[in-house]
């Protein structure tokens, strides 16, 4: 029968991960347990539910414990105040039952190319904190996903926290997902941005885009097309064109490559225009 271990505390969780690298690391289970009854039983479960919790903020950084649920993110005052798009995104991921269980690190670890929250973390330039019995390290989120559902997470490592630099006051933050329904349905395309306009020009821009590649991506070419430009329709069109030239989305049961190419570009163009009209 499947073994089951529940750590006494966060430190114990790291020790148990090293002792049982082949166990299923389970947090909220909202991705890993889909159709669990049709899957082979794992040899063991390392249950992280309730571990690595807590949200805190200092003058420069917001720290989100790996085990923070999307519901906790949606309801946290610090998130609503400092990073409102993360709270908005959290409220639109799955629905109440999913948000009550799903954790931010679970989303990072399974690293689905269509994880709704992930483009937001790319746009916010999040850093992933990892720990093992060997020590701790950090990986910028844009380097964390290494392929289709593959990450830089080692076999003895756990995600302990995510840190996000506090966006500059006045930065334009936005997030959009496009799908058949706001709740539950897996999105066709989603995009997020953190964009700063100074003296009428785009001083910095980050775009995170989901469901257009084998992993959530930063749209570097689109960012380059934005920086230094006036945030207007012409720049929006140039940013959209740069994005479309740099991605190769696929046809699948939810959408088509052509639709994704069109809409992903439109989302970024809209972000740029909206940033200019505030």
């Amino acid at each position: 029968m499947t073994d089951y271990v529940r750590p006494r505390d966060d430190r114990d969780a790291i020790a148990l991960r090293a002792a049982h690298p082949d166990y299923l690391v389970l947090a909220g289970g909202t991705d890993l347990l889909v159709s669990a009854h049709h899957k082979a039983e794992p040899i063991g479960i390392l249950d992280l539910a309730g571990r690595f919790a807590g949200i805190s903020a200092d003058a420069t950084t917001v720290r989100i414990g790996a085990g923070t649920t999307y519901r906790a993110l949606a309801e946290a005052r610090a998130i609503a105040t400092l990073i409102p798009i993360l709270a908005e995104a959290a409220r639109e991921i799955g629905a109440l039952q999913i948000q009550n269980r799903a954790t931010i690190a679970g989303n990072l670890a399974t690293s689905s190319p269509v994880g709704d929250g992930l483009p937001v973390l790319l746009a916010l330039d999040a850093t992933i904190h990892l720990a093992s019995v060997r020590g701790e390290r950090t990986v910028p989120y844009h380097a964390f996903c290494t392929g289709y559902r593959k990450t830089a997470l080692g076999a003895d490592e756990l995600i302990t926290a995510i840190t996000i630099p506090r966006p500059a006051p006045g930065a334009y933050l936005a997030w959009r997902k496009v799908g058949t329904r706001r709740a539950q349905s897996i999105s066709k395309v989603m995009a997020a941005t953190c964009l700063e306009v100074r003296d009428g020009r785009i001083a910095s821009a980050r775009f995170g885009v989901g469901a257009v590649a084998d992993r959530p991506i930063r749209a570097y070419a689109a960012e380059a097309a934005a920086v230094g430009q006036v945030p207007d329709a012409a720049t929006g069109a140039a940013v959209a064109a740069a994005l479309r030239a740099s991605i190769k989305p696929i046809d699948d049961l939810r959408s088509t490559a052509r639709y994704r190419l069109e809409i992903a570009g439109n989302l970024l163009a809209r972000f740029v225009e909206n940033a200019g009209q505030r």
């Binding site: 029968m1 499947t2 039983e41 479960i45 799955g94 629905a95 039952q97 269980r101």
Partner: protein
């Protein structure tokens, strides 16, 4: 694995795999068949139960995670013969038709009403109920009568804070 949990107020002990879904533990081991399986993928909400008072899909929780925890199913909503306000209003207003989604909706809505999450004095109460019940799919009613029932129940219960 020996798992002890409190279900609808009573301590229950079962010997099951820690990987067994809470849904199957409830239906097969405890014979609480009020909780229904819809999709088995966390999409439809039919299997919603309360884990430590919070709505979750019981198809996405495994037995090991419930050891030492509290579960409320649709069988635990009524107080003896007295239905929960949500159940009473679902019956009175035709908020249930085929019935497969109803236990999940009753459980989820009861938690929302009891916690005061959808108070009717809030201006956008109807929109709030729709958002909070977005994870419960119903293919019969068109949702209007469900939302009516939840709002009517919220009026009666009042809720905390």
């Amino acid at each position: 694995m020996n798992i002890a949990l409190i279900v609808n107020g009573a301590t229950r002990t079962v010997e099951v795999s820690p990987y067994k879904r809470l849904l199957d533990l409830l239906r097969d081991d405890l014979r609480l068949t009020g909780t229904k399986e819809g999709c088995g993928e966390g999409e439809c909400g039919a299997c919603t139960v309360l884990l430590d008072g919070i709505p979750v899909n019981s198809c996405l929780v495994v037995a090991g995670q419930c050891d030492g925890h509290t579960v409320t199913t649709v069988e635990g909503l009524a107080d003896g013969p007295l239905l929960h306000a949500v159940q009473r209003e679902l019956v009175a207003r035709g908020g249930a038709q085929c019935g497969i989604c109803t236990p999940g909706i009753a459980v989820c809505a009861a938690a929302l009403v009891d916690s005061g999450a959808c108070r009717t004095k809030d201006g956008d109460a109807r929109a709030k109920v729709r958002e909070l019940l977005a994870g419960n799919i119903c293919r019969c009613t068109g949702y209007q009568l469900i939302v009516d029932a939840v709002l009517a129940a919220a009026d009666q219960v009042g809720g905390e804070s």
